[in-house]
Amino acid sequence: MGSLYNDHPTWLHGLSAGLKLLVLALLGAGVFATQDLTVLFASAGACVLTFASLGRATKPTQPLLIGLLITSVLIGLFHVYMQQPWLGVVSVLRLLCTTLMGLALTLTTRYTDLLAVLEWLLSPLRFFGMHPERLSLQVALMLRFTEHFFVVWRRLDEAHRLRTGKAGGFKILAPLTIHMLVAARRVADTLHVRFQR
């Protein structure tokens, strides 16, 4: 399964994942802490310019941008209807800032780099007996089995269609779940043999 990362080179690709996450976290906290329209308009302008500067790399995000536009219009219209247009503008500007920067981060940062930052952030959990380094293994297992279960789902659906002439729909959810639980036991055995834990 591919991520939303786009390898078309942009200036943001050169920055470290940790720095981009830090900027996003500060921006997110900042726009939610203020209601000053000047600050929010300035932040939104900067975010739009930053996003636009990525050029062709933003092309795959068009469906997400359309969703953002529709959501923004609906929120704006709702607040106009509630006779609070100022609140609508604040909400839409906040949404615009955080979503555009979130998309920019996702487009320009490999998920393995973000995973490394996430593991680093979770490293203090070692003191509580947890294992942040397992995160990479678990994400890899999850991705491998997402495709596998989707194939199983389609096979079950085809088998149901052959038997009944109708699509399986939710009737095949229970067999799929049982398949998943049995597969988990097999994978656990394999992990135990491989890592002896």
Partner: protein, 186 residues
Amino acid sequence: MNTSSLSIALVSLFAALIAVLGLIPKIDLPLGVPITMQTLGVMLAGCLLGPKRALQALALFLAAVAIGLPLLSGGRGGIGMFFAPTSGYLIGWPVGAFVVGWIMHTLPSATPRAAAISAFMASVIGGLLVVHVFGVIGLVHIANLPWEKAIMGTLVFVPGDLIKCALCATVVHTVARGLPDWRFGG
């Protein structure tokens, strides 16, 4: 079998199952809130894995979404999803799964019928009530909706979610018959 290996496998594979549930097409309602079968995955995680593993499975799933994997219904992903008006629902998923698991753990599940009834009750409280409480808080704080409007907005999803609770109970019933040695609620 080692419980640590089993935990890793169950958490990862259940997160994968939730991702597969997102491949079923979503229905969008006003305010951009989608009806998604992934909330059924939240209920199932709690019922089948127990509180701790269910929480871990949902946390893993959301971590994968946050790092940009398009695992949410409609192929959405990325950290921006956690700033959207619906992010309250997303944050409510791990908490809801934990509550479902905890309730399932305390209720009887010795027979398939008892397990299904317990699963329905646990799903209604954890998968429906808790998730919607978080969703409403998100709508109020991010979309700046008044409390009563946010509550009215979220009520639209309750009939659909009650159907998901019934579906969850049916799946648990089938699993109880198909895998008699399975320990519901962890």
